[in-house]
């Protein structure tokens, strides 16, 4: 636990030591800001709907971008060898990095609370749906990040890591959109795998344990895959 915290602190600090965090945060806020203000001022509707609809799309790029360097950079510079010969378990390393990326995403999401607060002054908001959406987004980013770190553990090239994680995330995201072309039997299975399907459930304000189990098991699978990918070096 102590080791996870040590790695978490170092990783989070290194996001803010480099331009990565700032660029990503600014881009994120500019895009969400546009969707927030356009619905508010152009359509005159008091809603977070548009913002919550666009964030999963932004995360498609945003999260591979922040997670691509987590392990591939260590591999490339050789610091992975230092890290893996310290008395720290492989799982602690993966979890520390996972939590740091999750914290950065939560910081980005926290900025959007400004939109919610300003809405409360103008009209009535659907509190349940908003809380649900935030919870859904956090779980969604969790699964994206675990995929991103896994992709990063496969290569020492950050661009390759970005593309791999984008492809996996995009495929899982897209599943929900192609269901109508498929027979019902396959469709229901694919629907369950789709990230977006579970998000839309939670975003309605209904927090169902089935959706949470989906997210948590997805995160666990990819964290364990990453751990295995790190261990592979010992046997190759």
């Amino acid at each position: 636990m102590k080791n996870i915290l040590t790695i978490f602190r170092k990783e989070l600090k290194s996001y803010f030591n480099s331009p990565v965090a700032y660029i990503v945060l600014v881009v994120f806020l500019v895009i969400t800001g546009w969707f927030f203000t356009s619905s508010l001022f152009l359509s005159g509707v008091v809603t977070m709907r548009n913002v919550f609809d666009i964030i999963p799309f932004i995360f498609l790029f945003f999260i591979p971008a922040i997670s691509m360097r987590t392990l591939s950079e260590e591999k490339k510079s050789g610091t992975i060898e230092l890290l893996l010969t310290k008395p720290v378990s492989d799982l602690d390393i993966v979890l520390g990095k996972f939590l740091a990326a999750l914290a950065l995403t939560c910081i980005a999401l926290a900025f959007t609370l400004i939109y919610v607060i300003s809405l409360t002054f103008i009209g009535k908001i659907d509190t349940g749906a908003i809380i649900g959406s935030y919870i859904g987004l956090i779980f969604m980013s969790g699964i994206y990040i675990s995929i991103g770190i896994f992709a990063s553990s496969l290569t020492e090239n950050q661009v390759v890591a970005f593309i791999i994680s984008f492809l996996i995330v995009f495929a899982l995201f897209l599943l929900n959109k192609v269901l109508m072309f498929l027979p019902a039997g396959i469709a229901s299975i694919l629907e369950y795998i789709s990230i977006d399907y579970h998000f839309s459930n939670i975003a309605r304000g209904v927090i169902d344990s089935r959706d949470l189990i989906y997210y948590l098991s997805g995160i666990t699978i990819f964290v364990l895959l990453t751990k295995t990918s790190l261990e592979k070096r010992r046997w190759s």
Binding site: G78, T79, T85, K86, R234
Partner: protein, 319 residues
């Protein structure tokens, strides 16, 4: 016994990088792994530090088997990997703090440990700088400081002086010798002078096998084979074949060949029998043939010769 290795083998694919080696290193020894690039030095070190798992064989660090007690072994070892990887965007103090925390140095002692390392490694002037801004010599010191921050009993340094300029090399060697007083220290190098300058004991590794083991002096004695003599005569009326035959007839001479020949002189390369000194006889022989002796020099077998002998003959045989 600080490090004990039994029948260690490591395959990369079908190629054996380390092939069935066994040796022991006593507490407090400074041991140098010497070998050409790709001989298996780094692979052996990576297995001792638990970064790689042996294909077969066992490693014990302070009587703990490395596979079963991976975490405890790691705590006892300080490791400086090849190329000295560092987080270039961190500053020196933050990095040492991170290393100390990962090595589970108690929180209350971290600052003390960092201060001690900064003093020993001479990092006082650069402690607030980013590692990326430092010169190679200082980076190497940071790498050493990081490896020793938890006061390990065993220190493993993979090519600690590679890429440094001569002044930096001398400073780092001094530092290593200073540290080696209290610790078991294993370092690898392909520079011979380094071993002679710093190590109590040398393991010469080639093609994944240990080809020699001993103190630098004992190796010199053991491999003191034939002596080589370089002899230069003035090129004049005396035919070189006659000189060649004349030299061959001298006592204790094994082989003669012409090394170099130019307009004024001929340089002979002579191999003498083990432990012999044929210089006086050679001098008299040359004079008796009415030729003019310009130079005569006998060479002792150096560690370099031993190294070359051990690491090249072997590979020729295999090829």
């Amino acid at each position: 016994m600080s490090i004990k290795i039994e029948n260690l083998t490591k395959y990369y694919g079908t190629q054996a990088a380390v092939n069935d080696i066994s040796f022991e290193i006593n507490t407090g020894e400074i041991v140098g792994f010497l070998g050409p690039n790709g001989a298996g030095k780094s692979t052996t070190m990576k297995m001792i530090t638990t970064y790689l798992t042996p294909s077969s064989g066992k490693i014990y660090v302070n009587d703990l088997e490395t596979e079963e007690n991976s975490m405890d072994v790691r705590k006892k070892i300080g490791y400086l990997p090849e190329q000295n990887p560092l987080y270039l965007d961190m500053n020196v103090l933050d990095y040492l703090e991170y290393a100390a925390a990962l090595e589970s140095v108690p929180k209350s002692e971290i600052n003390k440990a960092i201060k001690k390392m900064v003093d020993i490694c001479g990092l006082g002037d650069v402690q607030h700088k980013d590692i990326g801004e430092l010169s190679k010599g200082f980076k190497q010191r940071v790498g050493l400081a990081q490896a020793m921050i938890h006061e390990p009993e065993v220190l493993i340094l993979d090519e600690p002086t590679s890429g440094l300029d001569p002044n930096q090399i001398i400073e780092i060697r001094k530092l290593i010798r200073h540290l080696g007083k209290e610790k078991t220290l294993v370092l690898s190098t392909h520079i011979l002078g380094e071993v002679e300058a710093t190590c109590d004991r040398v393991l010469i590794i080639n093609k994944g096998e240990i080809v020699a083991d001993g103190t630098p002096d004992s190796l010199q004695d053991k491999f003191k084979g034939q002596v080589t003599i370089s002899l230069i005569v003035k090129k004049d009326s005396v035919d070189k074949d006659i000189i060649l035959r004349g030299i061959s007839s001298v006592k204790n001479i094994d082989k003669v060949r012409i090394l170099k020949e130019d307009d004024n002189s001929i340089n002979f390369h002579i191999t003498g029998l083990k432990g012999s000194d044929a210089r006086e006889d050679l001098f008299r022989k040359i004079v008796s043939m009415n030729s003019v002796l310009l130079g005569l020099h006998q060479e002792e077998t150096s560690l370099e010769d031993i190294f070359r002998q051990l690491t090249t003959s072997k590979s020729k045989k295999e090829a």
